[in-house]
Structures are given as C-alpha cells and as structure tokens.
C-alpha cells in the first residue's frame, strides 16, 4: 500500500506542476482581456506557457518549488502509519520522473540533497479530522514568491486599518518580485506561528472564493481593489492587475499582539488534491 500511495503522490505532484487549476487560468485570461500594452503581452506569454506546459507535459515553471503538503487525516484512516513515508517517497519519485528541480539545500553545508527531501522537508501540515479517509493537497511553492512572504507584529492600536495599510504597502514593495499577478494569503491574529499558517492555508482557496464571514470578505475585496489600483501590474512592468485575489483568515489574538502574516503565491498558483478512502481507493477531488 505504501508503494501505491507513493506512486499516487508522485502523480499528484506531476499534475500539480504541469496543469494549472482552471480557476487561476480563468482569472489570468480575464486579466489579459482587461489589460493593454506591456502588461497584456506578459499575460499572453503566461497563458501561452500554460498551454505549452499541458501540451508538452512539462512543468509550467522551472521552479517546481518546495513541495508543501496539507493533509487532512481521518482518525480512523487505516493507513495513517505509512502516509508520511509514502509522501516522502512520492516526492523522491516525482523528482526523478517529472523531473522536478531539486530544491532542498542543507543550511549548514550549502549542499543540495538532490531529491527534494531533507530535514523537515517536504513540509507536511497535518490536521486530524473525523472519519476514515485522508485528503492530501500538494502545493508546489516557488521561492520567488515565498521570498516576498512576511510577518509583522503590529501594535493592536493601529487596528484593522493598520493591517490593511501594512498589506498594501508590503505588496507595493514586493512589486514585480513574486511574479505578479499573484494571489495573496493574509493571516491575522493567533500569534506568529498561527498567523503564518493561516496565511498559507488561505492560499488553498480558489481564486474568487470569498470568506464566509461578510466582514472578512469585505476586507478581501478592499485589499484586492487597493493593491490593483497601485498599477504595479504583471511582472511589475505597470498595469491594472497586480493581484488575482486576496484571501484573509483570522484567529483570536493575544490582547497585546496583532500579528499579520502575508504569504504570496505567484501566478503559477499550483495546487492539486486527492482523497484516499479506507479501502485505499484514490479519488481526484479538484
């Protein structure tokens, strides 16, 4: 079973790096139609690249990222003891087969492990759920956009206005670096660790999917409009569309703290999920 799941993980990664989710592609198409000049040319190149990647079965970007996993593990899932090893094995297989770029470097020696695994890598975020199945989402996270992620411990006195101001100013300074048009995940509250995890998890939402809380949804729309009004544009060359969407998640905070984490995802907003049932059958769930 471990071998079977490892093969499925390799398949999942292969699909994730080759085939961009339709919601992202649609948003890019819409952006292209609304742009002109240099920005339009950039978006046309992106869309052509997406098509070529699918046709030639090649990764859409050479930075196939840090292979990040989000696992919802049912407490009664029968194969819970092998899932971690199967994910790591799947990463090694995909690195050879697709191939993926080796992106795991030893902090002390500077040596690349060559197979995308290493200390705490690939990162796996675990969430225990009721039931007997397991849902695995792969998010190949590029380094260029990850470098524009950040955390700021704001003073609670600045309030939500201060939060929004910080996100806006940060995305202006990020400019063309994270390969815009990007998707921005914002995590507010909880503490340094929780806010960053929320910011990353916010990126799992589809483009256009608003938060169920109306106030948070409004904040998302406000930020989307504000960032796009600055004119950074595709690749920072100037244009109307800098971000495809902004997703906000919140947690209760300590009275003295107002943590705000920003996780930036490049236009290659790659994510794919599978569900494994208790019989070991695998389902694509995108």
């Amino acid at each position: 079973m471990k071998e079977k799941i490892a093969n499925e993980i390799a398949n999942l990664l292969s699909k994730a790096v080759i085939d961009l989710p339709r919601d992202v592609e649609e948003a890019l198409k819409k952006a292209m139609e609304n742009e002109e000049g240099v920005a339009k040319a950039q978006l046309m190149a992106i869309l052509k690249n997406i098509e070529l990647a699918r046709k030639q079965k090649k990764p859409m970007c050479q930075d196939t990222g840090t292979l990040t996993f989000f696992v919802k593990l049912g407490v009664n899932f029968p194969y819970r003891d092998i899932i971690k090893d199967a994910i790591i094995e799947g990463v090694r297989k995909a690195t050879l087969q697709v191939p993926l770029r080796p992106n795991a470097v030893d902090v002390l020696t500077g040596k690349n492990s060559g197979d995308n695994t290493g200390r705490f890598i690939p990162p796996i975020h675990w969430e225990l759920t009721d039931g007997d199945d397991c849902i695995i989402t792969a998010m190949p996270k590029g380094g260029g956009s990850e470098n524009m992620s950040t955390l700021r411990m704001l003073k609670p006195g600045v309030g939500l206005k201060g939060v929004k101001k910080f996100v806006l100013e940060w995305m202006v300074e990020a400019a063309g670096n994270p390969c815009p048009p990007t998707v921005v995940g914002v995590g507010i509250g909880g503490g340094a660790d929780v806010s960053m995890e929320l910011a990353k998890k916010a990126l799992l939402r589809k483009v256009g999917q608003r938060h169920e809380n109306k106030e948070i949804a409004k904040m998302e729309e406000e930020l989307l409009e504000a960032i796009n009004s600055t004119g950074i544009g595709a690749m920072g060359l100037g244009g109307k569309i800098t971000v495809l969407d902004v997703h906000v998640e919140v947690a209760h905070r300590h009275p003295a703290s107002l943590p705000v984490a920003i996780a930036v995802q490049c236009w290659a907003d790659r994510r794919k999920s599978i569900r494994i049932d208790k019989e070991g059958k695998i389902w694509n769930i995108d």
Binding site: V38, A45, N49, M60, Q62, P99, N177, T230, G238
Partner: protein
Amino acid sequence: MEYRLSLPIGEEEIMKINAGDVLYINGIIVTARDEAHKKAIEMYDAGKTLPVDFSKVAVFHCGPIIKREGDEWQVIAAGPTTSSRMEIFEYDFIKRFHTRIIIGKGGMGEKTAKACKEFKAIYAAFTGGAAVLAANAIKKVKDVFWLDELGMPEALWVLEVENFGPLTVTIDAHGRNLTEEVKQKAREIAAKIEF
C-alpha cells in the same frame, strides 16, 4: 521598438535600445544565479581564468530543470529567476566582465542601473514563470560548468538560443529604470489610499 539581436553585441547597438523596447535574442546565453555571480567575481579577483567570456554572451538569471539523456542535456524548463537577489553582485559583475545584456525577472535596482549606464549594458525581463516558452527557444545545451560544485539550479549552463523572447528592456544604458519608475508611482498612489 522591437529588435532582433544576434550576440555578441557592441556598444553602438546597446545605445540604440531604450527602456520599454522588446527584444528577441539569437546566440549564446549563460545562466548565472547568486552562487555563480559570487564565484565568478571571486575567481576574477584572484586572477583565475573563467570558463566563459561573459562579454560575448547574455547572462540569464535562471536555475533550469535539465535532464541527462544519453550524451545530451535536455532542457525541460528554464524561466527566469528573481533578479533582485543578484543586485548585490551585478555592479561588480558588469564592471569586471563587461556583459552587455542581463536577462531576468522582476527588475533590478539602482546599483545595476548605475553599472548599465557606466559600462553600456542593459537589463531585460523575460516573463516570470514562462519556463516552457523559454525552453522552446533554447536549441542546445552547449556546455555546463560548476555543476558538481553548485548543483543544477546554480551551475553555469551555456545555452544556444533562437528568437529568445519577448524580453522587455527595463534598464537601458541611458539611465532609465522602468520597474523602479512603476514602483515609485505605486508608492505615491498607496500613500493616498485611506481605508
């Protein structure tokens, strides 16, 4: 303006190019990221001979995916990497090697723009992430250096390209820096937004 350039390219041709122009390149480009920039500068300063004459090629900020097939290297994906990481090296690099064209993504800062003006060079952006588009314009891997030492993403890959583009010139040899202009304007707009 749109230009089709064949490398190597001289000062006169570089001076004709302006920020905002679109380029397609034929000839040899060489990938170099953080580690390669650092190593090249250190080797030069130690009086050692470099494996590549950087004045005759375009330097491409890129860490490609390349697969060995028999005796050949096959380029799978080769889009640009974020150039701002190389900002700390680029002035010293251009000063030493007289590279005429730097290719990357995201734009570069003041020091690189200064080098471009002083030593007659330009910086052009390839669409970030468009790795298959880039790979399709690469006709052949001519050579590779520093692969064992630096690993696949950081090595110097010597690539023969045909119609490599579209590249948007963001820094010209006249002192203009397009992405910095866009950023400056964005800062002014953002400062006026009230939530």
